[in-house]
Symmetry: C2
Subunit: 135 residues, 2 copies
Amino acid sequence: MFIELDLQSEVPIYKQLADQLIEGIASGKLSSGQPLPSVRTLAADLGINLHTVNKAYQALKQEGFLEIHRKQGVIVQPGSLPSADEAFRERLRRDLRPLAAESAARGMSEDELQELLLSLYRQIQNPSSQGGTSP
Amino acid sequence: MFIELDLQSEVPIYKQLADQLIEGIASGKLSSGQPLPSVRTLAADLGINLHTVNKAYQALKQEGFLEIHRKQGVIVQPGSLPSADEAFRERLRRDLRPLAAESAARGMSEDELQELLLSLYRQIQNPSSQGGTSP
DNA sequence: CTATCTGTTATACTATATATATAACAAGTA
DNA sequence: TACTTGTTATATATATAGTATAACAGATAG
């Protein structure tokens, strides 16, 4: 897998994992219906506990990004991915708010902030254009 | 004060407080050099513990948004506010990244996401245009 | 049918973060 | 001197995060 964890980070491991799986979906590295490693396999690969992987999988299943079946294991949502509904937008606003506020307090302009976000968004959708090990 | 806490939120109280103080600075409701309530006074006002207020104050002092003097108490940075330097931008990118990724995964377009952020930014800089108790 | 793999559940334990509660200290001020 | 300030030090309670084992039930390959 393409997962890279920072065990020293203050960001919980299960959240780093869930975030990177979502990023994989957003970028297309994980495609609809694609199977993911079992909780035991991925845990062993990453050197973490089975329950930590399971916690990330469960969170993404809850959000609708994954489906989980017996024996078949975990697969990326084969149907339509969850939408940016009002509930998500509200959560998004709540999370963005303190970031926008501190940016403003530090004198970052609208344009600068938007530019930074746009750059991130595009980098996520087209990861090959960034930091790759090209010849 | 204008602080409103949600004691049931999963967001730590000291972070809610720090965030709203920064938002006060960004909006101009808190101006340069303005004194803030003592840790004991504000704690009593908000119905929380002195140390929780102190934790928020210390974090903002550490970032450079506040100055703290003996007896004179706590004041908003009278000099120049902290800038949006590269360290901040890096932290900002790290925090924005999972939000941008999930937005993309849910099919939210660049424009929609930028629009939402822009709306928030402006709402913060001009809070009187939102949710006020107008006649 | 049997062995094996899957997610799932249940305990138990440790460590850390959050929040509160008291108490005391040192410095500045009226 | 008396009071308020931030600061420091303990102690306690709770929740979250992470690990470690163990066991269970369903699906599948042999």
